[in-house]
C-alpha cells in the first residue's frame, strides 16, 4: 500500500536542511507521497528507510520483462480488477508450446513465427515459444533460436539442462517453468545465475505464497505464478483471489503475474480456456495448437479487453486514397472510429477498385453511434468535404453515404449544393458490388 506523507516523513532525517529544494522534510515527504519527486533528491535518507520506501512504492503486481534479441515483452504492473476502473495495461503474452523431442520443432516454430495478422491497422503476432524439455533441451533451444527472435520459456525440472540451455541465451530475459516445493532451491539458483524469471507452482495459494518468499530469499525477484486449478471455475477463483490479495491487500507474496496453460484439459477446450485467461488476469497464456483460426480471435479479444476504455481507437480524419484514385473515382464518406474505417478501407482495397475515402471527425465513434450522438450529421459531413477540399481532387462531385444513415441524404444535399448524394449499402462487405453496379 502506498505510504502517506506523514508515514514517509517519519522515515526522513527531519532536519529540514532544504537541500532537496523544499523548505521542510514534511513538504518533501508530501511531494514524495504524491509521486512528484524522486527519493534520491534527499541525500540523507538512511539505507533502512530507502529499502522500506522502495518496497512500499513497488507496484502491487510486479512488472516482469522477458527479452530476446530485439523483442521484449512486459507483463504485470496491473492496478484494477475491472477494466472500467482504469484500464488493463500489459497484454498477456501468448506463447506456443513446442516439444524438444519433436523432430519438426524448427519448422513448427518458423511457421508460427512468420504468423502475422492485421486488426484495425495493427499487426499482431505470437509473443514467444515455450520449449518443453522432453528431449535434448539445449539442442532444441539452439534450433528454436535459429528461427525466432522472440522471448523463450523453458519447461523442465532438470537444473543442469536448464543451466546449459540458458547459457545459450546469454543476455536474454527467459522464463523458467516451474519451481515447486521439491526443486525450488536448484531452480532458483539457475534463475539467479542467468537473470531469468521463474515460474513458481503450487496447487494452493497458501503454499504458493510460502514458496515465493523462499524463492525470493534465494535472490530471485522476477517470478510468475502457476495457480493450478482443475477447471475454469477453480482457476477463475484462484486468479481472482490472487489479484485481489495483491491489489487490495498489497500482499506481496502473490504480487506477480500468472501463467495459464490453455490446453491443459484438451485442445477442444483450448480457445475457451485461453479466452477466460485473457479476460481474467493471466500474464502468460500458453497454447498447444498453432491454428490461425483460433489465434486470430484470441489476439483480437486480447486487444479489445486491453483497450483503454477512456480512448476509443481512432484514425486521423482526412481524405484517404485507396487504390490510387483518379478524379472520376467515387468519394465514400465514413467516420474516424478505427473499426469502422478499416472495415470500409479493407473492403475497398481488397476489391481493387479506386476510391477517395473521406473520414469525418466523429470523435472516434461508429457510424450509428456517432449519428445517434449527433457527431455524424449533414453539417459535419459537409464540413469535412469542404475542409479537406475534396472538390479540388475530383471531376465528378458525387459522394456516397453509409447505408445506415440514409436519412441524412436530404440534409447533406442541402448542405452541399452542387454535389450528388448517393446512399451506399449498409454493410461494407457489399460496397465493392455496389461500386461496380450502381456507381457508373
Amino acid at each position: 500500500m502506498a505510504l502517506s506523507g506523514i508515514q514517509i516523513y517519519k522515515m526522513l532525517p527531519q532536519t529540514n536542511c532544504k537541500e532537496c529544494g523544499f523548505p521542510t522534510c514534511l513538504a518533501f515527504a508530501m511531494k514524495l507521497a504524491a509521486k512528484q519527486v524522486e527519493l534520491g533528491t534527499c541525500p540523507y535518507v538512511s539505507d533502512e528507510s530507502k529499502k522500506q520506501l522502495a518496497e512500499s512504492s513497488a507496484p502491487p503486481i510486479r512488472l516482469i520483462t522477458l527479452k530476446a534479441n530485439g523483442t521484449e515483452l512486459k507483463v504485470g504492473n496491473e492496478v484494477v480488477m475491472f477494466r472500467h476502473e482504469k484500464t488493463f495495461y500489459n497484454k498477456p503474452g501468448l506463447f506456443l508450446r513446442v516439444k524438444a523431442s519433436d523432430p519438426d520443432i524448427t519448422k513448427k516454430v518458423a511457421t508460427a513465427d512468420a504468423y502475422k495478422v492485421n486488426y484495425v491497422g495493427m499487426d499482431f503476432t505470437l509473443n514467444g515459444y515455450a520449449i518443453e524439455a522432453d528431449g535434448d533441451l539445449p539442442a532444441a533451444v539452439k534450433a528454436v533460436r535459429s528461427v525466432t527472435k522472440r522471448p523463450l520459456m523453458l519447461i523442465g525440472s532438470d537444473a543442469a539442462a536448464l543451466d546449459s540451455s540458458l547459457s545459450l541465451l546469454a543476455g536474454e530475459g527467459t522464463l523458467i517453468y516451474a519451481a515447486d516445493s521439491s526443486n525450488y532451491e536448484a531452480l532458483a539458483e539457475v534463475a539467479k545465475k542467468h537473470k531469468a524469471a521463474l515460474v513458481v507452482k503450487s496447487d494452493s495459494l497458501d503454499d504458493l505464497a510460502d514458496l515465493t518468499k523462499k524463492v525470493q530469499a534465494k535472490g530471485v525477484e522476477d517470478m510468475v505464478l502457476d495457480l493450478g486449478g482443475k477447471n475454469l471455475g477453480e482457476w477463475l477463483t484462484r486468479s481472482t483471489q490472487a489479484r485481489r490479495l495483491a491489489l487490495k491487500s498489497n500482499f506481496k507474496p502473490l504480487g506477480y503475474p500468472t501463467i495459464f496453460f490453455a490446453a491443459q484439459n484438451g485442445t477442444d477446450k483450448e480457445a475457451i480456456y485461453a479466452a477466460q485467461a485473457i479476460a481474467k488476469y493471466a500474464g502468460f497464456v500458453v497454447l498447444d495448437t498453432f491454428a490461425p483460426e483460433m489465434i486470430y480471435p484470441l489476439l483480437v479479444l486480447r486487444e479489445n479487453i486491453y483497450t483503454d476504455p477512456q480512448k476509443p481507437i481512432q484514425v486521423q480524419p482526412g481524405i484517404y486514397e485507396i487504390n490510387s484514385p483518379k478524379p472520376d473515382s467515387p468519394v465514400l464518406v465514413t467516420t474516424n472510429f478505427s473499426i469502422t474505417y478499416f472495415a470500409v478501407a479493407n473492403e475497398v482495397e481488397g476489391s481493387g477498385l479506386p476510391a477517395w475515402l473521406v473520414v469525418t471527425d466523429a470523435e472516434g465513434m461508429s457510424v450509428l453511434t456517432a449519428w445517434a450522438a449527433g457527431k455524424f450529421d449533414a453539417e459535419r459531413i459537409a464540413k469535412a468535404i469542404k475542409g479537406f477540399d475534396v472538390a479540388s481532387k475530383v471531376s465528378r462531385k458525387r459522394i456516397v453515404l453509409p447505408g445506415h444513415v440514409a436519412v441524412l441524404s436530404g440534409e447533406v444535399e442541402e448542405e452541399l449544393p452542387g454535389w450528388e448524394v448517393r446512399v451506399g449499402p449498409r454493410e461494407a462487405v457489399d460496397l465493392p458490388a455496389f461500386m461496380k453496379q450502381a456507381l457508373n
Partner: protein, 314 residues
C-alpha cells in the same frame, strides 16, 4: 501460514426470474426455466454458489433467413424453412430456451401460427422477438401475446422509443419482456424504470445491455455488464434484472464469420474461425455476467454449455 481470503459482501443481488409455464402453472411447457439470483460477481464460488445456471438459447426465425451464413444453413439444413422442426432440432442441440425472431414479411396470422406451431413442437420456454421495427413489432407481438396467454413467454425487444405496447400486452397476458438499452448503465436503468412504472411485476423483466461482437465493440458491452452487475450487487434495484445477450446475432454479422473467400490467409479455416468468433464473443459475456446467451451454431452451444458447467462446479 494460511492466507486470509477476503470475500466481498454485497447488500444486493440479481433477481431470480422464471420463464415459461408448465401445465400445472397454466401453460404448456414441459419445464420452466429460472435464471438470475446471483449474489456475487460471476462464478466466484468461494463467496457463494451460483444459484441458477446461465441458460443457452438458440435463435431461430419464422421464415428461412436468406442472409445467414452458409455455415449455419449447412448445419440446420431443411429445418430452417420450418420453424417447428427447427425448434425441435434446437432443443436436441442442447438449447435451454428458444428465441423465435419474427420477420417483417410475416402477417399477423403467420406470426400467431408460427409461434403456436413452435410451442407445439417442443417443450422449452420461448422468447419471441418482433422484426425490430416499432410498428411491425407491435402489430405482431400483441396478437401473439394474446394467443399464448399464460405461457410466460418473453416478448421483445423493448427499447426507449417503443416499449409501452409490448409491456402492456405482456402484463395483460402473463408474459415477460426484454428491455434493451444501447450499452449504457444509466440508459438501462432509465428504461427499466419506465417499464416498471407501467406496473409490470419486477420478476418479469430481462435486461439486454446490447452486445457488440468480438472485434466490433465487445469491450463496451463487456464493461457495461460488469458495471451493471456491480450496481445490482450494491443494491441498485433497477439494475437487478438477469441479463440476456445476443452474441450469435452479432458474431454471425461479422466478416470473420460470414465470409469464407477472399479474406486474409492469417484468418485461418473459415468454419473453425466462425465458430470461434461466436464462442469467444459468448464466453467473454459469460465472464461478465450474462444469464441468457442467445447463440446460432450448435457447436458453440455445446462449448459454452460445457464452460458454464465448469464454472459452476468449481
Amino acid at each position: 501460514m494460511p492466507i486470509e481470503i477476503t470475500k466481498d459482501k454485497w447488500p444486493g443481488s440479481i433477481k431470480a426470474i422464471t420463464i415459461g409455464a408448465t401445465a400445472a402453472e397454466g401453460g404448456t411447457r414441459t419445464k420452466a426455466i429460472t435464471v438470475g439470483g446471483g449474489t456475487t460477481m460471476p462464478y466466484l464460488q468461494f463467496e457463494a454458489p451460483t444459484p441458477n445456471k446461465p441458460v443457452i438459447a438458440i435463435e431461430i426465425k419464422s421464415r428461412k433467413p436468406e442472409d445467414w451464413s452458409p455455415l449455419l444453413a449447412e448445419v440446420w439444413g431443411e429445418a430452417m424453412a420450418d420453424p417447428a422442426q427447427w425448434a425441435q432440432k434446437a432443443e436436441e442441440a442442447g438449447a435451454g430456451l428458444i428465441v423465435l425472431a419474427l420477420t417483417v414479411e410475416d402477417s399477423v396470422e403467420d406470426a400467431v401460427r408460427v409461434v403456436k406451431s413452435v410451442l407445439g413442437a417442443m417443450g422449452l420456454p420461448l422468447i419471441v422477438w418482433g422484426p425490430g421495427q416499432a410498428e411491425k413489432d407491435n402489430e405482431l407481438l400483441v396478437p401473439v401475446s394474446e394467443a399464448t396467454k399464460g405461457e410466460k413467454l418473453v416478448l421483445g425487444i423493448c427499447e426507449d422509443k417503443n416499449y409501452r405496447t409490448i409491456v402492456a400486452t405482456a402484463m395483460a397476458n402473463g408474459h415477460l419482456v426484454q428491455s434493451r438499452a444501447p450499452m449504457d448503465v444509466n440508459l438501462s436503468k432509465q428504461l427499466n424504470i419506465l417499464i416498471s412504472d407501467m406496473g409490470i411485476p419486477k420478476d418479469r423483466i430481462l435486461m439486454d445491455p446490447t452486445t457488440g461482437a468480438l472485434g466490433y465493440g465487445i469491450e463496451y458491452g463487456y464493461s457495461v455488464m460488469e458495471r451493471l452487475r456491480l450496481a445490482a450487487l450494491q443494491g441498485d434495484v433497477m439494475t437487478q434484472f438477469p441479463m440476456i445477450v445476443t452474441p450469435g446475432f452479432e458474431a454471425w454479422k461479422t466478416k470473420e464469420a460470414k465470409v469464407g473467400e477472399g479474406v486474409p490467409e492469417a484468418w485461418g479455416d473459415w468454419k473453425a474461425r466462425a465458430i470461434n468468433w461466436e464462442t469467444l464473443t459468448a464466453m467473454s459475456l459469460v465472464e461478465s455476467g450474462a444469464d441468457i446467451i442467445v447463440l446460432r451454431h450448435p457447436e458453440s452451444v455445446k462449448r459454452i454449455k460445457e464452460a458454464i458447467e465448469e464454472l459452476i462446479t468449481a
